[in-house]
Symmetry: C2
Subunit: 371 residues, 2 copies
């Protein structure tokens, strides 16, 4: 029987999904995780005033959220030192990455990114028919020179860089990122994913000004602000570029509760500083737990620590699976050259206590399986 034909682009897309959620694994295992430290969520939670603002908005959520996100963009603009017209808000960076892909990719266009980089960016590039050209990490860092060379070799108009990086947690100082931007052709758009920016050491994020016509900087409330399940992110760019998001975005995408929560979160900067300090303390502890178990933690500017297992992808996978059966959810990088590592999100001490108790057994089990 004939069926309605998919579009040429959609017909060829794979059925793969960017991430398997912890709930899927929980359903498979038949019990909930005791430590949820795999998706770089923040177990430190959102600020009390953020939670209160969302709860207070719940009875008002019969109304659509403001499709201009006016108050939210005003608050972000003030926070970042730009104008509201230089901000587009969206329901998370994932969504904004999809919109950017749609704005800039023709089927067949080369798009430059890192091999083993953020799967959801890959998902969107493939989804809009882009041809990904992937540059391997060097020393567990994104290869700025390599990315630039690929842009020039391919004549690419779109390149993606995460700084700090996911899944490795490494980073380049602002000066290197600025030099990268300076060297980029004027007609190549850089998507600079700064989702982990609030967690990075001072001097990691380049100055906002001057805004460049060929840079989009993406930020989120999902990580340091502890609002992953609320879905609010934003992108900073030159006014003319930002205006184009209106052509393709879902204008009512950000929930009313999310807008209220994000505005409250921006007002909680003292809480944010204290929470980031707490995350860094726990990040140090997480690294020690890894070292005590024979793993080599890679220096991190994020809320996760990726650890070199000193072995191979199968071994890393075995640790991950052994931890899952022990009630601990973690993830691992998937790219060649990175996939012998495991990636553990920084949880609060209670979560790390569980990891600390379970990691030795999981590693022993992985070694036995290797044996």
């Amino acid at each position: 029987m004939p069926r309605p034909p998919f579009s040429r682009l959609a017909a060829d897309l794979p059925d793969t999904v960017p991430f398997v959620g912890p709930e899927t694994i929980e359903r498979r295992l038949g019990r909930p995780f005791r430590a949820r430290i795999g998706a770089n969520e923040s177990g430190f939670g959102a600020a009390p005033q953020t939670i209160a603002a969302m709860q207070a908005e719940a009875p008002e959520a019969w109304k659509y959220g403001d499709p201009e996100n006016y108050d939210l963009r005003a608050a972000i603009a003030q926070h970042c030192g730009v104008r509201a017209t230089e901000i587009a808000a969206g329901d998370g960076v994932d969504s904004l990455l999809g919109l950017a892909a749609r704005l800039y990719i023709n089927p067949g266009d080369p798009v430059i990114t890192s091999l083993g980089g953020y799967p959801t960016f890959d998902f969107h590039v493939v989804g809009f028919g882009g041809r990904e050209v992937k540059v391997p990490f060097v020393d567990y860092r994104e290869n700025l020179d390599g990315l630039l060379a690929a842009v020039e070799r391919e004549g690419a108009h779109l390149v993606y860089l995460a700084n700090p990086d996911n899944p490795m947690g490494t980073w380049w100082p602002a000066s290197d990122v600025s030099a990268f931007m300076d060297a980029l052709p004027e007609d190549t758009m850089l998507i600079l994913d700064e989702a982990y920016g609030e967690l990075a050491p001072a001097g990691t994020l380049p100055d906002i000004h001057p805004l460049r016509p060929n840079v989009l900087r993406m930020r989120t409330f999902s990580k340091a602000y502890g609002m992953a399940g609320v879905r609010v992110g934003y992108v900073i760019g030159e006014e003319q570029t930002i205006a184009a998001f209106n052509r393709v975005r879902n204008h009512f995408a950000i929930s009313r509760i999310g807008q209220a929560g994000a505005i409250a979160a921006l007002g909680a900067q003292q809480w944010l500083r204290e929470t980031v300090a707490e995350i860094i303390t726990c990040r140090d502890r997480l690294g020690k737990i890894g070292r005590n178990n024979g793993l080599t933690p890679i220096p991190s500017a994020t809320n996760f620590v990726t650890m070199d297992t000193g072995s191979n992808a199968a071994f890393a996978r075995a640790i991950l699976e052994a931890l899952a059966t022990r009630g601990v959810f973690i993830r691992k990088p998937g790219g060649p050259g990175l996939d012998h590592c495991i990636r553990i999100s920084v949880g609060p001490h209670e979560a790390l206590d569980i990891l600390e108790a379970e990691l030795p057994g999981a590693i022993a089990e992985a070694k036995a399986a290797e044996g």
Copy 2:
């Protein structure tokens, strides 16, 4: 200075937006509306247990929502009498319409819809390069025969029908819709938008079974369930069709709070029945208010009443603007043949009291301006 080039599709898109939000008008007027009865939101609110569920989930929203929406889809499936694999959930019907457009439209493809129909569907069709062929309403109803004739004439693989309809509030009984589906070519996909389905009289929605390979039925928590600002909708279809949404959807799109709220809402069927009865009572009153002011309410199966002003688009626009300055937010249809009407959402009695007090003055002002 050269800039990064937009994709060919994005470069040609207009800067128009589907809807101007009431907040935009409030900012222009410098004060909030006293009666917000323009966006077909439900001033009757969400169920108490829905609000409570969202508030309870707020502290948990540091976790991403389940990307499979497993529990939510299971609850919807049970509610609708289908399998979970026959449901895709999304952050509102607006988003699902965009995904369907992306799945089915090649640039240049004809897409059949009604002239003056849902602007957000138009936004998505244009956004993916479709060529819209618009069929005028007949007697304020979508023209089923005309839509079918256009499908056949154009060889279109995609057609959109809202039943009950927005912006007119009219509807076809299930038997006519079923006959329409029977007559549709097997390789033409029907998007059947049933956003207002819970508000329609019995016998309006065709049976769910048999599921057809060429029908996608869209429903939402935004209208009768009173959750517009939460962003949850779903689409029912054959398993093979539904699976394709995974290729293009934002897997983490539905907030954790939204998933919890929608599940609770499905459990509140007694509340829903009572609320729909209340909405229908107020819909009758809204019609009377219109008639008392010389307007002709069009029979409605929705939570709004569209009213024929007996004049022209300028007059309808003048009423709308006069009401806005009096603190009452309403909207109007934009399509030729419909645009002499105004569209007023059914609010609770307090909102209708304000409308009742302000409508005579607004109409007098519009008549004076017509003068």
